[in-house]
Structure formats: C-alpha cells, structure tokens
C-alpha cells in the first residue's frame, strides 16, 4: 500500500542536506580552484608548485603539524589517564572548561597567548624578576616554538577528552584479570590498555593534525612572515589577487587534508561502535594516592594549567585592564552592550541571531544525515559523512573566498551566506553527535511504536526525537559555539551591519581599543562555557564519545 511511496521519501529527505552541502562547499571551492587554474593563464601551476617558496612552506607545514601533534599527545596523554582514573569533585565543570580552547576564535587565543608566553608576558615577567633582569628572557610566543605551543594549547583538551572517554569504557575486570595472571604494570599497559585506547588516540591525533595543518591566524601572527604554511601562502595569493597561484597551492593542500580527514573518518567509525561508559572502570579517589604520586600530579597539573588555562585567564584580565592607563575598568563590558557606531550591541545581536539560525540549520541538516547511516544503501552513508566532514579539512580561506565569489556576489546575498558559513563549521560535530545518538537508539522501541499503531510521523515525533534529544542538544550546543566564533568567512563577506562579535574584535584591536577587544572576547568565552555546562547537565555521554 504505502510501501512503495515511502521508499523514496527517505532518499528525498537525505538528499536535501546533501545537495546543500554540495552547493555550499564543493561548488564554491571547485569554482575558485578551477577558475584559478583555467583562467589565469599567466601563472604556471607547475612553476608555483616547484618553487622554493612553496617547497619551504610545505615542509614547514608538515614539520609544525607533526611537532604539534607530538607535543599535544605527550602532554595530553597523562591528562587523559588522570581524568579517567581519578575521582574528584567538580569534574563536570572541568570537563566543560576543557572544551573552551577548542572553540575559541583563534584571534582571541593569539591575544591571550602572547600575553602569557610572549616577551614581557606573564612567564617572562616572573623569570625577569627571579633572575633580576630588565630585558626579556623568555619568549615562547614566536616562531616555531610559539606556533607549536599555541597548537598544543588548542588540542590538548581534545586528547584528554577523547582518550579518557575511551579509558572509561575499559572494564576494570580486564585489567584485574591481567594482574591476576601475573602481568607487570608495564605489560599491562602494553598489552591491554594501549591497544584499547589506540583507536581513540589515533582519532584525536588525526583531528589535531587536521586543525594544525590548516591553522591560519596563529601561524600568521606568531609566524611573523618568517614561517609560512600552505594556508598562509594561499591567503597571500588571494590578497594579491593571484588566483592562479592560490588555486595551485590549494590543490596540494586539499589533497593532504582529505587524506587526513579520510583516515580520521575511517578510524573514528571503530571508536563510535563501542558502548558508553562502563560502570566497572577502575577509579581511584584523590585521597588514596601516595605523596610521591601527588607531587608528580601537581607538577603535571601546573604545566597544564599554565598552558591551557593561562591564555584564557589572560583574556579575562584583558577585558578589564587597560594597559595604557594601567587601571581596571568596566568600560569594555559597557561598550559591548552599547549601541553606538563603535558599540558592541549590534555585533552582539548579530552574533546571537546568526549563530542561532546556524544552529537550527545545522540540527535540521544533521538529523536526516544521521538517519542516512541507518540505511543499507551502500554509498549514501559514506558519502554523507565525508561531505559533512569536509569543512574541517578545507582551507577556511579558500572556502570563504569561494563562498564570496561563487555565491555572495553573483546572487547579491550577504547575511544568508554568513549564516551558511557558520552552519558549515558547526555541522561536522553536530552531525557526529546526533549520529551517535541515532545509532544507539534501541530498535525494539521503534518496533513497539510501530506495533502500537504509530504512523511514521508519529513515531518520529513521539518516540525517536525524544530519544535523540540528548544527542541533539549536545550537537546544537557544539554548533552554536563554533558558529559564534566563526571568522574567516564573516570577515571576508560581511558589510559593517553584518559584523559579529568575532569580527569586531579585530576592529577593536586595530583601533587599539584593547579593553573593548578583551571584553568582546570575554563575552564569547562566556557564551561558549555556558553552552558546555548546559551540555554537561543534559547529556548522558561524555564529549569524548561524541567527537
């Protein structure tokens, strides 16, 4: 009866988000690249690709990525063990705070980072006082060191969350069996624990590698033009309106990022298939630890706090402290809510409205995409997941530029394109969250709904959506946080009435209004932290599993 017709309905519903993704990611990027390669006849792509500059940028790009991943894993892995094994109060809040670096707009991070690690920054001042020097001793914020450290700042929380989620799933009975069978601690780690966390460790490393490879504002500011990555070269080329060169380099970059993204995608499938936290994982409370262990913990913890919490605190301080008048003031906060031409009220409203729209759109797109995973049509789930992950792996500059030339200008639409850019950025994690909820849905409940006479629509509304609500909330909050921090596309496309807070921070910095910039950054940070505390209260699964 209705069977035949309903068979096509799912295909229809899934194809809408897929078409949107293709239209707003694949089309603009391909347009820009092809235009550069085919129309700019005076640039020889081959020359560009074999030039010394490109070679240097490429090598440096790989080096900084590898080093960043290495440092991140080195510092993050102990944290993962700590987080998983030790019980302490306020774990939920700490977990929420750990996500903050991940979704902070990079420009904000750079400001805080320099303040902590740069010359005459906090670390430097302490060192100078201790050693009685009047000139700068420590400058960890420039060059390769600065870039790698800043990348670590961003990604250590990622490693901690993902690997600790995996550790939480490890049955303590496995560990105990090993111990009973006579395994030493070393053997236990090598044979049982390491293989168990290897998939999630790989996934976290690949994700880190992806972000570090296409990282832009950090390398631009801290690299001081001495250190170029492929993304910087693309930016330079676009700025000089040398499309041919931009396209040639973008092609190389895309090949590599797609490789990384594909590996991430394949391995992360293995991770999501496992269940949620095992109640039987071994946990120890703080009081039970030896003094020696506590000392080591304290040392490690202080490194982590300085590296991860330091810049965030610096941002908070920057919101209230005017470095020129050397006094504390609330004027920055006032400014954010004032509505003059330079006031923050319109950008604040824009930020909230655009991000809200982007969130709703992301959720609406993510739900059918998540459902596509349930269908055995062989290629649809694979393709949709790849498409959803694309924004992570594509140069944000290329995408922003593509959206501009291919869509915003010809069609004369501005703010919808901004909303779409923000949606695209939040979509990957939103989709993953909802997808993991969809996969965990108990089939038996759906069958019961069917048997009890619910129509397809009724089943969706009354049974499925309520079951998916935790996953949807988590996904929505992720989408919101990433949307509100989006900057590349907005910076490029927006006219002043479309400026968001993230963009306006730039303006304030240019006008040397540091307190105003700090205050705007603080608002963004607060919005993100609030969002994540909400997730923590509402969701059953931990973040690591969602990612």
């Amino acid at each position: 009866m209705n069977n035949k017709r309903w068979k096509f309905f799912p295909i229809l519903v899934i194809s809408i988000p897929l078409l949107l993704l293709i239209g707003f990611i694949v089309y603009p990027v391909v347009y820009v690249i092809l235009r550069g390669l085919l129309l700019e006849l005076d640039t020889n792509p081959f020359e560009v690709l074999t030039s010394v500059l490109t070679y240097r940028a490429f090598t440096f790009n790989i080096v900084e990525t590898l080093l960043s991943v290495g440092l991140t894993v080195l510092l993050g892995l102990p944290g993962a063990f700590l987080f998983s094994k030790i019980k302490f109060r306020g774990k939920g809040i700490v977990q929420a705070l750990l996500i903050v670096p991940f979704i902070l707009p990079p420009i904000v991070v750079v400001v805080g980072f320099i303040r902590v690690f740069g010359s005459n920054g906090w670390l430097d001042s302490i060192a100078m006082q201790m050693l009685g020097s009047s000139t700068s001793i420590i400058d960890l914020s420039s060059g390769l060191v600065g870039i790698v450290l800043a990348h670590a700042f961003y990604n250590i929380p990622l490693v901690i969350l993902m690997v600790s989620a995996s550790l939480n799933q490890l049955d303590s009975e496995l560990e105990e069996s090993a111990e009973i069978l006579g395994a030493t601690t070393f053997q236990k780690y090598r044979r049982i624990i390491l293989p168990h966390i290897l998939p999630s460790l790989l996934v976290a490393s690949l994700l880190t590698a992806l972000f570090c490879f296409v990282s832009f504002p950090i390398v631009l500011t801290l690299g001081e033009s001495r250190y170029k990555t492929l993304e910087i070269m693309i930016y330079d080329s676009f700025l000089a309106v040398d499309y041919g060169r931009a396209s040639a380099i973008a092609m190389v970059q895309i090949i590599i990022t797609l490789m990384i993204a594909y590996s991430y995608f394949r391995i992360s499938k293995k991770v999501t298939q496992e269940g949620s936290s095992s109640p039987f994982s071994k946990k120890v409370s703080l009081g039970e630890l030896t003094l020696k262990t506590k000392a080591v913990l304290l040392f490690y913890f202080s490194i982590l706090i300085v590296l991860v919490a330091g810049p965030i605190i610096a941002i908070i301080q920057a919101a209230f402290y005017n470095p020129y008048s050397h006094e504390y003031t609330l004027s920055g906060i006032e400014n954010v809510f004032s509505s003059g031409t330079m006031g923050g009220l319109t950008p604040l409203i824009n930020s909230i409205v655009y991000a809200s729209l982007a969130t709703i759109l992301a959720v609406l797109l993510a739900i059918p995409l998540a459902y596509s995973r349930r269908y055995r049509f062989s290629w649809i789930p694979e393709v949709s997941t790849m498409l959803v992950l694309l924004p992570l792996g594509i140069s944000s500059i290329t995408l922003a530029y593509g959206l501009m030339i291919a869509i915003a200008v010809p069609l004369e639409i501005i703010w919808p394109v901004i909303v779409i850019a923000q949606t695209l950025i939040g979509l990957p994690f939103c989709a993953k969250s909802i997808e993991s909820s969809v996969m965990k849905m108990d089939e038996a409940l759906l069958e019961q709904a069917d048997i009890l006479g619910a129509s397809r629509m009724q089943r969706l509304l009354y049974v499925e959506l309520p079951l998916l609500t935790p996953g949807i909330v988590v996904g929505a909050v992720f989408a919101f946080a990433m949307a509100i921090g989006e900057m590349s596309a907005t910076l490029f496309i927006a006219h002043p009435q479309n400026y968001t807070l993230a963009v306006v921070i730039y303006t304030y910095l240019s006008a040397r209004r540091f307190v105003d910039a700090g205050a705007a950054a603080l608002i963004l940070v607060i919005a993100c932290v609030l969002s994540f505390i909400i997730i923590d209260r509402l969701s059953e699964s931990s973040f690591g599993e969602v990612i």
Partner: protein, 350 residues
C-alpha cells in the same frame, strides 16, 4: 480476536540460515506456544507474524485474509519483547496510553482504558511512576498493559519472562494465562522453557532448525512424541535403539504393543527407536531384573537424583527419589543395576 494461519512460511537469510516451511493454524482465542531450543526459528516466526520480517515464501493470514502486504502498525497486534522496551521518556501512564493516543482516542477514553488495564494487571498505583522507577516484574505488567491497550486481535509474546527470577516468573505466567483467558485474545507465546510452555498453553508447537516438529496439547506432546527430537527434547526423554525379537526369548526384553524388543543393535534385524521418560525408568537390584546395566553417573537435582545407566552401549537417564539399592553417592558409580520401564510408558518412534 483473530484466527491466525501460517501457510508455508519460509525465509532464507543471507548467511544461509533458513526458517520454514512453517504451516500452523491457531484458533481464535487459543494460547499457542512456540517452544524450541535457541536458534530454532521461534522468534523469526513471531516476527514474521508481526510483520517485521517479510516472508520469502508463503503467507500469514488473519481470519483468512492475507496480511503479507499490511504494515505492522495496521495489523492490530500487541507485542511484548524480552527486553520489555518501555519508552524511557514517558511514565507508566503514557506508555500504556501510547497506542490509544496514536489512534486518536479522546483523553477521557484514554484515561478510562488505561485505568481499566491497570486494574486488570494490578499496577494501578504505578501509573505516574517513571520507567526507571519500577521493578522487572512491574515492567512486564506495564508492557502487557500497553500491548493490550488497543484491544488488539492478536497478542505476541517473545520470551517476556526470561529475565525474571523463578518465583516471579511462575507468578507472572499464571497471571498472563488468567488475563488471556479473561480477554479471550488469540496469543502466540515464544519460550525455550518447557515447564513454562506446558503450564500455560492450550497447544504447543515444537520448533527445531526452522521447522515444526510437532504440534499438540501439552499432554499429547508429553505422552506421544512424534519423533526422536521431540521425544528427547521434552523432559529429557530417552531414545533407545532396539531390535525386534521373538517373544519369550530370554529376559531383557521390552514389550510394546504386543511386540518384544531388545535393547541393542543386531545387524540382521530391523531397528526401531523407542522412547521412555526418565521418571518412568525403574531401578532395582541387579539380580532382580531382566535388563541389566552399569551406573555411570549420578547427579543431585533439587527433587531427585539423576542417574545415567549404560546398557548395551546406550545411555539411559533415570530419575529416582532415592539412591537405588541403598548405595551412597560415592559408591554407586560403577554398580550394576537392573532397569525396567513403567507399564504403558514406552512409545515407538516413527
């Protein structure tokens, strides 16, 4: 209340496992149990009746009408799963009310129906509880109430009690039977537990390896097993290979239907399989009887002893309330005993 007919139902799965052909007629108001070991196809058959699996061949008929192309939601069935599957985001009331609400009943109608069922199942006090706040047994009752809410014509139950402890299980078995009789609703029950099947069913269909081995009342199946599988499956019945002998040849014969048989294999004679239940095997002193064998194992059960006796190379299980012949548990193994069978308790298997 529906008459259910399965006509040559068959389904082959991609990995090669097959279910069917299955043909079965269940009367209106009958309580039919599908009984069999794991993997025998009981659940698959049940799901084909429900409409979750499409039969490869054959059809399912409700009151003579083919329902193969009818969606599960339109088949007017109630179903209770092993996992209960109560909607976690709703409370007990809302779970039970789900079916009627989907059908568009008015709020007043829904309320009175839910209360009626809650009374029937003794869960009236639980109506406002969250699903996480009720016990396993209470959950089963809620699931049953939910399944019955729309007054369906057919009730399907897939091992609903297997997760409960034995006492609770027995209590609920009886309740289910009572309710079923009271409502007169055609019911298909799936289980692998023989006691359960025997105590609550009108008829039982024994399944093995995807096909029906025998259908009949519990008494029928117990006393007259149709084949070796049923004979050994039900009550651990013994299946003994014998050959016919002339009557009045020396001892060790069993007399069934005026023919004499001896246990064992004689290549010159036609072979026959007979069956006898362990509780019908009598053990006595080795000297006193005609069939003599050696005790090879002894196991203490809740109510009696289970003895394994080897005769002519075949193993026969016997149940005895005491250890025979006055032996102690440690001595009895290896002793010789003679066995005999309770009159009229032996059947020939075809």
């Amino acid at each position: 209340m529906v008459q259910l007919e399965l006509v040559n139902l068959k389904r082959i799965f991609p990995d090669g496992t097959r279910v069917g052909p299955i043909s079965l007629l269940i009367d209106d108001g009958e309580f039919m149990t599908l009984l069999g070991p794991s993997g025998s196809g009981k659940t698959t058959t049940l799901r084909m009746i429900a409409g979750f699996i499409e039969p490869g061949e054959g059809s399912v008929k409700f009151d003579g009408q083919d329902v193969n192309s009818v969606l599960p939601r339109d088949r007017n069935i109630g179903m209770v799963f092993q996992s209960i599957a109560l909607f976690p985001n709703m409370n007990v009331f809302q779970n039970i009310a789900f079916g009627p609400e989907m059908d568009g009943w008015g709020h007043g109608q829904v309320v009175s129906r839910v209360e009626e069922l809650a009374d029937l199942l003794g869960i009236r006090t639980l109506l406002m509880r969250k699903i996480t706040e009720i016990s396993g047994g209470e959950g089963q009752r809620v699931a049953l109430a939910r399944a019955l809410a729309r007054a369906p014509g057919l009730l399907l139950l897939d091992e609903p009690l297997s997760a409960l402890d034995p006492h609770l299980r027995v209590r609920l078995q009886r309740e289910i039977r009572r309710i079923q009789k009271e409502l007169g609703i055609t019911t298909i029950y799936v289980t692998h537990n023989q006691d359960e099947a025997f105590s609550i069913s009108d008829r039982i269909a024994i399944l093995d390896d995807g096909v029906i081995k025998q259908v009949g009342t519990p008494g029928d199946i117990y006393s007259n097993p149709a084949n070796a599988f049923v004979a050994s499956f039900i009550g651990d019945g013994n299946v003994i290979t014998c050959f016919e002998v002339d009557s009045q040849s020396n001892g060790s014969t069993i007399i069934v239907e005026n023919k004499s048989y001896r246990i064992g294999i004689d290549s010159s004679k036609p072979l026959v399989k007979i069956t006898v239940k362990p509780e019908d095997v009598r053990i006595s002193d080795a000297t006193s009887g005609t069939m003599v064998g050696t005790i090879e194992s002894i196991v203490r059960l809740v109510r009696n002893w289970e003895l394994g006796i080897i005769i002519e190379g075949q193993r026969i299980i016997a149940l005895s309330e005491v250890i025979p012949n006055g032996f102690t548990e440690s001595e009895v193994v290896g002793q010789q005993v003679s066995i005999s069978f309770e009159e009229d308790s032996v059947r020939i298997l075809t």
